[in-house]
Symmetry: C2
Subunit: 137 residues, 2 copies
DNA sequence: TTGCGTGCAAAGGTTTTGCATGGCA
DNA sequence: TGCCATGCAAAACCTTTGCACGCAA
């Protein structure tokens, strides 16, 4: 469950606090660095990238790639992995950036289909549907 | 429809011939450059990138962004714009990194479902299913 | 002749990595 | 004490851009 967070460092805590304070907002690694510098917490950019990578692996934040050349976006999604057995799917609007959480049984059939027909075990936590939301269509 | 191809240059023709010869295959800009160099057709990489961009805009090839850091993938889809463009879905193995592309009608129903039930217009070009492939399960 | 396409090199920006140091447990 | 995390700088990487030249129409 916690592939990387063996140590609880000051830097990790600061970073996590910040991400937690802006839920539902997508932030780039550069944004994080800039913000931290303003706060006087001078954390190296390598650390920021490495911690973000860890947090993604732990499922605490999500990583979104909207466009190949723009920097990746991160977003806090919480730590309640143990409490929620419900599988959650994500839709990300490419235009306004909105993240939509879906709890839909029908979508679970994708998993079944991919597994039985294509021998691919899809991971709903990591998979994001990109497209346009209701308002942006 | 043809935003850029005002001139029909030798380079464009060579590039298009190559792409046309490998339909349904994912190719990166780097792959193209390497192949062309082997063939003795020394086309500058700027030209490759610029032509690929044009061809995407014209709808002759598709561009897929699988992962933020890996290079973008291109795929020939043909010039018959009136015909039904073949939609391609992608599965990426989180373990071995293998990319599987699927041409599956059943998966198209996801699009329909997401649109009719959740008012979300999913973009297959950008959406990637993450999980584990047959060998890595 | 006109001006788009090309090619080279260099820049651009994001992310990763090497290595010595520092800090958590 | 042992090992992981950090930080700095530099590298790596893909892609874009500036500019002069060449070529299609």
């Amino acid at each position: 469950m916690n592939p990387r967070s063996k140590y609880k460092t000051k830097q990790r805590e600061i970073l996590l606090d910040y991400l937690e304070s802006v839920p539902g907002v997508h932030i780039t690694a550069g944004d994080v660095c800039e913000y931290l510098k303003k706060q006087g917490a001078n954390i190296g950019q390598s650390t920021v990238y490495r911690q973000l990578e860890s947090l993604v692996a732990e499922g605490i934040i999500n990583k979104y790639i909207i466009d190949g050349n723009s920097p990746a976006c991160f977003e806090y999604v919480g730590t309640d992995s143990h409490a929620d057995p419900e599988i959650c799917f994500h839709c990300k609007c490419e235009k306004c950036g909105k993240l939509i959480h879906l709890h839909c049984d029908e979508l679970k059939e994708i998993q079944v289909h991919l597994f039985s027909e294509h021998q691919f075990k899809m991971d709903p936590m990591r998979t994001v549907f990109y497209g346009l939301c209701e308002q942006c269509i």
